[in-house]
C-alpha cells in the first residue's frame, strides 16, 4: 500500500480527542522536567522516550476503524484491533529512529550549535524511520510472495468445503 494523506480524518476527530492528546503531551513534558529537577537528568532523561500519547492514539485509531466498519454494517472489533496493532508495529520501527536521535544529541550537542543538532537529529529520526519502514514493507511483501503455495491452497480448499457444506 502506498503512503496516502487522508485529510478527512481531521474532521472525524472530536475537539476533546485533540484536548486529551494536548493534556497528555503537556503533562508528560512537565513531569519529565519535574523528575529531572528532583532526581537528576539521568532519570529525567528516561522519560523523554515515554510513550506519552501512544495509548490515546491507539484508542482513537481503534475507535475510528470500528466506526467505519459499523457504518458498513459489519462488526469491526477484529479489524480495529488489527489497525491498533499495525500502528504499534509502526511505532516500534519509529523507536529505532528515536534511539538514534538521542544517541546523536548525546554525542554531538556539547560541541555544536544546539538548535542545529536538534534539527539534524530530528531529520535523522525521520529519514531512518522511513527507511526502516520501507525495508519492513518490502520484506513482508517478499515473504508473502514466497509463502509455500500449499498453505494458502489448503486454506482456500477448506473455505470451499465449508461453503459447500453451508449450501447443502
Amino acid at each position: 500500500m502506498k503512503i496516502q494523506i487522508h485529510s478527512e480524518v481531521l474532521g472525524e476527530t472530536k475537539w476533546y480527542e485533540y484536548a486529551v492528546r494536548f493534556l497528555f503531551g503537556g503533562s508528560i513534558t512537565a513531569l519529565a522536567g519535574i523528575i529531572a529537577k528532583n532526581f537528576g537528568a539521568e532519570i529525567g532523561g528516561l522519560f523523554l522516550a515515554f510513550p506519552a500519547i501512544f495509548p490515546a492514539s491507539a484508542t482513537l485509531i481503534e475507535k475510528h476503524e470500528k466506526q467505519e466498519k459499523e457504518r458498513l454494517g459489519l462488526n469491526g472489533t477484529k479489524r480495529a484491533a488489527q489497525a491498533a496493532s499495525l500502528d504499534a508495529a509502526g511505532a516500534a520501527i519509529g523507536t529505532i529512529g528515536l534511539a538514534c536521535f538521542a544517541l546523536v544529541v548525546w554525542k554531538v550537542i556539547s560541541n555544536h550549535t544546539a538548535w542545529l543538532v536538534l534539527l539534524g537529529a530530528s531529520l535523522l529520526w525521520m529519514g531512518l524511520a522511513f527507511l526502516l519502514w520501507q525495508i519492513r514493507k518490502r520484506f513482508a511483501l517478499y515473504r508473502r510472495r514466497n509463502k509455500p503455495a500449499h498453505s494458502t491452497s489448503k486454506r482456500a480448499a477448506a473455505g470451499i468445503l465449508a461453503r459447500r457444506r453451508v449450501k447443502r
Binding site: 481531521l10 509502526g90 519509529g94 536521535f101 550537542i109
Partner: protein, 113 residues
C-alpha cells in the same frame, strides 16, 4: 511554576502536532511512526539547552537512548498482543506502561547506575 507551565504548553503543542501528522497518513503502520516521534524530547531538550546548558542536555539524551529501547519493547509487545488476542487498545496500551517502566528502570540500573 512558570517553567512547568511553559513546559506543559510547549510539550502539549509539539506532541499534538506530531499526533496530527500521524492521523493524516495511511497505511496505519506508517502513521504509527509518528507515535514514536521525538516530540517530548524536542520540547524538553530545547528548554534544557536554554536553561541548563549543553552538558546537562547530553546527560538527558544519554538516558533517553535507554528510554527509547524500553519504548521499542513496549510497542512490540502491544503490537503482538493486539494482533494475537484482539483485546481492546486502552487496557493493553495503559497496562503495558508498567512494562516500559520496568525495562527503562532495569536498563538504567544496569547501564548507568
Amino acid at each position: 511554576m512558570k517553567e512547568i507551565l511553559l513546559r506543559f504548553l510547549i510539550g502539549g503543542a509539539v506532541v499534538s502536532a506530531f499526533a496530527l501528522l500521524g492521523d493524516l497518513f495511511k497505511p496505519k503502520s506508517f502513521a504509527g511512526l509518528f507515535g514514536a516521534a521525538p516530540s517530548v524530547a524536542l520540547a524538553t531538550l530545547g528548554l534544557a539547552v536554554a536553561t541548563e546548558g549543553a552538558r546537562y542536555t547530553a546527560i538527558e539524551a544519554r538516558s533517553m537512548v535507554l528510554g527509547a529501547i524500553a519504548f521499542f519493547v513496549y510497542a512490540s509487545v502491544v503490537s503482538w498482543v493486539m494482533m494475537r488476542y484482539k483485546w481492546r487498545a486502552l487496557p493493553v496500551t495503559t497496562s503495558s506502561i508498567l512494562l516500559w517502566l520496568g525495562v527503562a528502570s532495569g536498563l538504567w540500573y544496569v547501564c548507568l547506575r
